[in-house]
């Protein structure tokens, strides 16, 4: 297909300057060209609208209705009723709090810091050590979520591995999934998700020119000071990207928690995705569940905005 395009640059608002002496291209051509160029992407675009934007718009609409899966014949538009209900619902506020705890503990503090530490240590490690550690960490990451959930359930349960080790060391054991469920699932998420951060940071650290670190070393900067004043500022963008991806993944963790605790006992590990599922599919309140889903989207956006600011700052 040969489009009569006199230039191959990006489309601008003005009609492009043709070769000297030729008349400017009429605006009709302009439109035609744009359409022609959109042609190859149109199937993808139509599919996206149908399968992604459509359902999302429908979800946003449902959140403002009292649609139920069962129990009433008709649903009607109720405005902000679902959102009002959510903010008066103690279980919802509890879920928001737990979601923040879970995200901060397992993503910001856990995966992020541990990933960076592992990446930094592996920079200096010998090859076999690197391969071994990397292999172990990545194995945890590639396991299906449900499998990881069952593994960690077996690790934390009362007759589980962790308590066996503690007993062997003559330390007091306890039923972790019952006493500290949110800590247990946070740990599980760290165990499972650290590999991602480690890979991002390994790549970022490899980008730092050796001369800079060597120069600092010659100047007598200690390891910590090099980390703080050179390494961190230089991988700032990777930190932002990693935090954003990590947080969004963590906010939507469902399977891991579902397998380990089902959000219990007594809602002590019921984060927003689990609360949403309970409302929509166990209590059949599709409208309310969807409203909560939108609120979860807002929480995610809030985190993202903060990181976007972080990303924009130039080193």
């Amino acid at each position: 297909m040969t489009a009569a395009a006199p230039h191959a640059g990006p489309e601008t608002a003005k009609s492009p300057p043709g070769p000297p002496g030729s008349p400017p291209a009429p605006p009709g051509n302009q439109l035609r060209r744009t359409l022609t160029r959109a042609l190859p992407v149109s199937p993808a675009l139509v599919l996206l609208v149908l399968f992604l934007a459509g359902p999302i718009a429908y979800c946003a609409y449902i959140a403002f209705t009292d649609l139920q899966l069962t129990g009433q014949a008709e649903s009607s538009f109720v405005g902000f009723e679902n959102f009002r209900k959510a903010f008066q619902d103690e279980a919802f506020l509890n879920a928001v709090w737990l979601t923040l705890v879970f995200t901060v503990l397992s993503s910001l503090v856990g995966q992020n810091t541990l990933g960076l530490a592992l990446a930094a240590l592996m920079q200096r490690a010998s090859k076999p050590v690197r391969t071994l550690v990397g292999g172990i960490v990545i194995t945890a990451w590639v396991l299906p979520e449900v499998v990881a959930g069952f593994l960690l359930y077996a690790f934390f349960r009362r007759e589980g591995t962790l308590n066996a080790i503690l007993d062997w060391l003559h330390l007091p054991s306890q039923n972790w999934l019952f006493t500290l469920p949110i800590l247990a699932v946070s740990f599980a998420n760290v165990w499972r998700g650290t590999a991602f951060s480690m890979l991002v940071y390994s790549a970022a650290l490899n980008e730092i020119p050796k001369e800079i670190t060597e120069a600092a070393e010659v100047d007598g900067a200690s390891g910590w000071r090099r980390m703080w004043h050179i390494t961190l500022p230089m991988i700032r963008r990777s930190i932002g990207t990693n935090l954003m991806l990590n947080t969004l993944q963590t906010l939507s963790v469902f399977g891991l928690i579902w397998v380990m605790t089902r959000g219990g006992p007594g809602g002590k590990s019921q984060t927003l995705p689990l609360f949403m599922y309970e409302q929509a599919f166990q209590n059949s309140l599709i409208g309310y569940g969807t409203a909560v889903a939108l609120l979860l989207l807002l929480v995610g956006s809030a985190f993202s905005l903060v990181y976007m600011r972080l990303l924009r700052t130039e080193v």
Binding site: M1, T2, A3, A4, N29, L31, R32, L35, T36, L39, S42, P43, V46, L47, L50, F51, Q68, L69, T70, G71, Q72, A73, R158, N175, L177, F178, R262, G264, P265, G266, G267, F281, Q282, N283, S284
Partner: protein
């Protein structure tokens, strides 16, 4: 050469059409007037194929008796809660609605109100076998409009299972039959004192085990608190849910006593979603549980081919009816649920579907099904049939409980009411709440779940 803008348009239209056909937008469902589509719940345990086998046989029989007609079985493999969700989604559209659907009485009223199901009264009036069904079972699938929406294929009852060996060690009788709640607690205390290392008494509790806590645990207590004639959860006359009754608090106090005095399982175990499976698969067969308040269906887990056979269970375990609170008439209490066959409102072939129900629920086929499924008969002629009574130990005991059984007030708010009950139970189980606090918490949750359709009694 330039592309004509008109050429772009058909391409876009073609894409849109392709996408539309991919998503099945527009176009008919392609339902065949000679095929009856039957959707049912397939067990999540791959070893258990009871319903699949039974329906396979009925399909053969039906196709032989009705030449030219076909049966398409649509198994849905899911745990209960997810099966309901899946079915409700199927019933919403004529394209996906089957002709016949297996509905739990737990949710049937909710689905009736949603307009998902067809009333069957016209069919039932012309079906002589319907007179063989017992009245309580007929009521299980009756809507608030008085019409009947489902044909029950059996029911279940609940009672006390106890371990004879543990009872012997504790010096308790082998033909134990408690008369009051206190008798049950006393027996548990005796076991705690004399047989260390076993769990004296199990009462299901808390949200993780779901409806098992409400029905096997709480309602078995609550429905034994009054005169046994009226419903302590829902007031029929005013059509309202009952808040904060004394019976409700007494039932909570019983649960509190069990866990406070450490007569029950460890709280952390009781609040483990997999606990009911452990009770059936480990604790009872291994002789680690003294008394278990549970359902009539337990033996189906111990039958041949279940993966955890335990043929000698009938020698090891005894059965006793759950007594009323103070031994007041009728003296014993049981709850019943069960499943029904219903015809979706959007079914393409309702007449054929009912024909299939008739084939499924002949006396011979119904009997075959009750026996295969450890179910309790809802047909009078089968209940009196010696072959059925002798088919399995325990059948007679649990069938006799049908006379003093109660059905749940399975109205549309019931699933949420049930969740509120589980939360109140969980509060007193963990000791986070007093009985008073848990009961008033229930009242609040009840108002929210039922749009304030609440009455104090």
């Amino acid at each position: 050469m330039p592309v004509r803008p008109t050429a772009v348009l058909p391409a876009l239209v073609a894409t849109a059409l392709a996408a539309a056909s991919l998503t099945a937008c527009g176009g008919g469902s392609g339902s065949d007037p000679d095929t009856v589509k039957v959707s049912f719940k397939q067990s999540t345990d791959n070893n258990i194929k009871v319903l699949d086998t039974f329906l396979g046989d009925i399909k053969k029989q039906f196709e032989k008796e009705n030449p030219g007609k076909k049966v398409e079985l649509i198994p849905i493999k899911a745990p209960d809660a997810e099966y309901y969700t899946k079915v409700q989604q199927m019933l919403r559209s004529p394209k996906t609605a089957p002709d016949l659907v297996y509905e739990d009485t737990f949710l049937i009223n909710s689905d009736i109100i949603s307009g998902y199901l067809k009333p069957l009264d016209d069919y039932l009036a012309k079906w002589p076998d319907w007179n063989q069904f017992i009245d309580t079972a007929k009521a299980a699938a009756r809507g608030e409009d008085g019409k009947t929406y489902g044909v029950p294929d059996g029911t279940d009852t609940r009672g006390l299972w106890f371990d004879k060996a543990i009872f012997a060690k504790a010096g308790l009788p082998a033909n134990w039959q408690p008369k009051t709640w206190d008798d049950v607690l006393e027996a548990a205390r005796t076991i705690k004192e004399k047989v260390p290392g076993v769990t004296p008494l199990n009462v299901y509790t808390g949200k993780p085990v779901g409806e098992a806590a409400t029905m096997q645990g709480f309602e078995m207590l609550l429905y034994g608190t009054n005169d046994g004639t009226s419903d302590p959860l829902y007031d029929e006359s005013s059509k309202k849910w009952i808040a904060g009754s004394q019976g409700f608090k007494d039932a909570l106090a019983f649960v509190e006593t069990v866990y406070k005095e450490k007569l029950g399982p460890d709280v952390a175990d009781a609040l483990d979603p997999n606990f009911p499976t452990r009770v059936r698969g480990e604790l009872l067969p291994e002789g680690k549980l003294g008394i278990n308040l549970d359902g009539s269906w337990l033996p189906q887990d111990w039958l041949e081919g279940s993966g955890h056979e335990w043929p000698e269970w009938s020698e090891k375990l005894g059965l006793a009816a759950m007594p009323t609170q103070n031994g007041q008439a009728p003296g014993k209490v049981s709850m019943s649920g069960g499943w029904t066959w219903a015809i979706p409102d959007k079914a393409a072939n309702p007449d054929l579907a009912f024909q299939f129900i008739e084939t499924m629920q002949t006396k011979a086929n119904a009997k075959k099904w009750y026996i295969a499924n450890s179910g309790i008969a809802v047909r009078k002629d089968v209940a009196a049939d010696p072959e059925y009574v002798k088919a399995q130990p325990g059948i007679k005991f649990f069938t006799d409980l049908v006379s003093s059984t109660h059905y749940r007030p399975a109205f549309k708010a019931y699933p949420q009411v049930s969740t509120a009950v589980q939360e109140a139970m969980e509060g007193v189980t963990t000791g986070d709440m007093s009985v008073e606090e848990a009961a008033s918490g229930y009242d609040e949750a009840l108002k929210a779940a039922t749009d304030d359709q609440v009455v104090e009694k």
